[in-house]
Subunit: 350 residues, 2 copies
DNA sequence: TGCGGCCATGTTCTTCGTGGACATTTACCG
DNA sequence: CGGTAAATGTCCACGAAGAACATGGCCGCA
């Protein structure tokens, strides 16, 4: 017998407040030319009736959809979730994105697309056509995919590219890699270390260069030498082990090592253990990733925390605020350092 | 100079295929009375033009919105994310929900609401009014909140209650707690254990009872005694420690302990260490949660894996498939066991 | 052969809730 | 009192669904 609940629309508000539809619409869209008295009356009615605009109708009428699409790589995301590890990236992204969207009255829709290039254009086109989002947040590895960026430009949809520093189109939002490396290095220097080894990532990642520069700069500022203290890995475990071995067997065995990925850090830790080196007594270790495994290993590792949530929050704000995605300066967000038990003053100082 | 890209609408498809709007609409909505020839022609045009119906327009026209809302508790979700731990629940939920939605042409919107009761109704009303979802997935602690369920019923929105076994309204979808406990117990029995302690959760959680029953049943089936092998905690660390101590100091010291939360399990592990008990040599330990900390602790713990992803997938399917959320049997999903290093044959057998 | 009836399709119109373009009213100023 | 700008109202478009109804072709049946 219960009647179908009829939603309260702008019409009901108009009737209740005794004004025209358009006036209500103006109030909703914060247009300036509304007398304070009217405004108050309409707002009161909205409040009383619990009116909330339908995003579908708003979108239909040519306004915003108040929807932001977060474009993630399907395989990578699913793999991370299914294996129940390595999802930090996605989590943090959701955290930053969701909250920022909510703050501004937007919603975020997570869209998983295959990187496989045949599908990606079709999938993206379909998503755009169906959702008509006001903005799109691109995450690696999509951030520099020109197929995607061109498509978005064509549709005049604002978008942000997370983890990319290449200027326009869209907003580039990235972490301050050099600053992070500097932060890590300075932390060790402050503890009293003078021989600080650095296991860099592969050269074909731009960020590897930036991180190495940050380390070099911090060392130079402290007047410390860096000869024989740089090794290069490929982010994987085996390469990290080799790099760590090279450093420890080198001319100037470091008392601290910074490694640019969690796998390389864990390899360093393993090697140190095998050689009977106490961590952090004989060797401080610092990771550039802050994955769960790094946090729960013994000892828990001091690590650079990539500000993914802030990055995404930034991206959302830009996308919401500035619908014209023309040339814009990349946004660089500082990293932070979480100090745990794997770094301490070198024993020689104790 | 670039013309504003005009979206391809149902009209373009009709023109391209040389049929009427109505026919296209019939094809899209899978109405039966369309000749195969027509159907193929229209489908070809849709394909060629890359037409995708606008969900906004579909919603406006009284059809579905193809949107599902996942209602999560804001505090709990944010805390989990921010602390970078304990987000497994949300992650798995997203995994199961997102994928299942995508498979069926739906999208999922994650909505965070405060449990604080003043706001919750307003927030939910607003979300419903704005999004007009076809369905809502409720997660603890919302699953049994009558304020929410009534509101959803009133709006005739299909919904599922995850982690709840109380029948209707809406679909209840829960894990097989008793089966999980049985699974855990049988694993230990198969390893050769005969004295298996059980640290249950507090009585005011229904699931505590079910779990205990599962353990009792498995023990009984194997003809093993359970006297003095049951202890009760409150899911917290301290209570777990006390419970473990009670078991180990009891009349029949167990060679294996099942604890119903990660905190109680970790407490058991700590106590075992302090007493010089080797895990799993002297004492096998099995957890009922599978949080990251449980996976990375030493030794990594064998644990019941709650099938959150499947639960959510189930919930989504029901909500999508059956728009009439009248009385329905609760859906029970089996749990699985992930075997790690904390369980082994008791030393006495070696 | 003619008629009723059904199926596939086309035509036309309405609905949904909102924003935009434009028309109209009001108020104030010189 | 005319001019002008601000405040407010009227009407229509947006994209799709679907109802109501018209059409034409085909069938079976007398």
């Amino acid at each position: 017998m219960a009647r179908r609940r009829q939603a309260v629309t702008i019409r009901h508000v108009a009737a209740d407040a005794g004004v025209s539809l358009q006036t209500v619409s103006r109030v909703i869209n914060k247009e300036p030319s509304v007398r304070p008295e009217m405004l108050a009356r309409v707002k009161a009615s909205i409040e009383r009736l619990g009116y909330v605009p339908s995003i579908a109708a708003q979108r239909m009428a040519g306004s915003r959809s108040y929807l932001i699409v977060a474009l993630n790589d399907r395989e990578r995301t699913i793999a991370g979730w299914r294996d129940r590890q390595g999802t930090d990236w996605v989590d943090q992204m959701l955290l930053g994105g969701l909250l920022t969207c909510a703050e501004h009255g937007y919603r975020m829709i997570v869209e998983l697309v295959d990187t496989h290039s045949d599908h990606i254009e079709r999938e993206l086109r379909a998503a755009i056509a169906a959702i008509r989002p006001d903005g799109v947040i691109l995450t690696p590895p999509h951030s520099e995919n020109t197929l995607i960026t061109c498509l978005l430009e064509e549709h005049r949809i604002a978008f942000a590219r997370i983890g990319s520093r290449i200027a326009g189109p869209g907003f580039a939002v990235a972490m301050d890699e050099a600053g992070a490396a500097r932060l890590a290095t300075e932390h060790l220097i402050a503890l009293g270390h003078r021989c600080i080894g650095f296991i860099a990532g592969p050269d074909d990642y731009e960020l590897s260069g930036w991180r190495t520069e940050g380390w070099l700069a911090a060392m130079a500022d402290a007047g410390l030498p860096t000869d024989d203290l740089l090794a290069v890995g490929d982010f994987g475990f085996a390469s990290g082990r080799a790099a760590a071995a090279a450093l420890l067997d080198g001319a100037v065995p470091p008392t601290a090592i910074i490694a640019c990925s969690d796998q390389m850090t864990l390899a360093t830790l393993e090697l140190a253990r095998e050689r009977g080196l106490d961590v952090p007594g004989d060797l401080s270790i610092l990771s550039f990733d802050d994955t769960p495994i790094v946090r729960f290993v013994a000892p828990p590792l001091t690590a650079i925390v990539q500000p993914i949530a802030e990055l995404t929050a930034c991206a959302v704000k830009r996308v919401i605020g500035d619908p014209a995605p023309e040339a814009a300066e990349p946004i660089i967000v500082p990293a932070t350092l979480t100090i745990r038990a794997s770094t301490a003053a070198p024993r020689s100082l104790a």
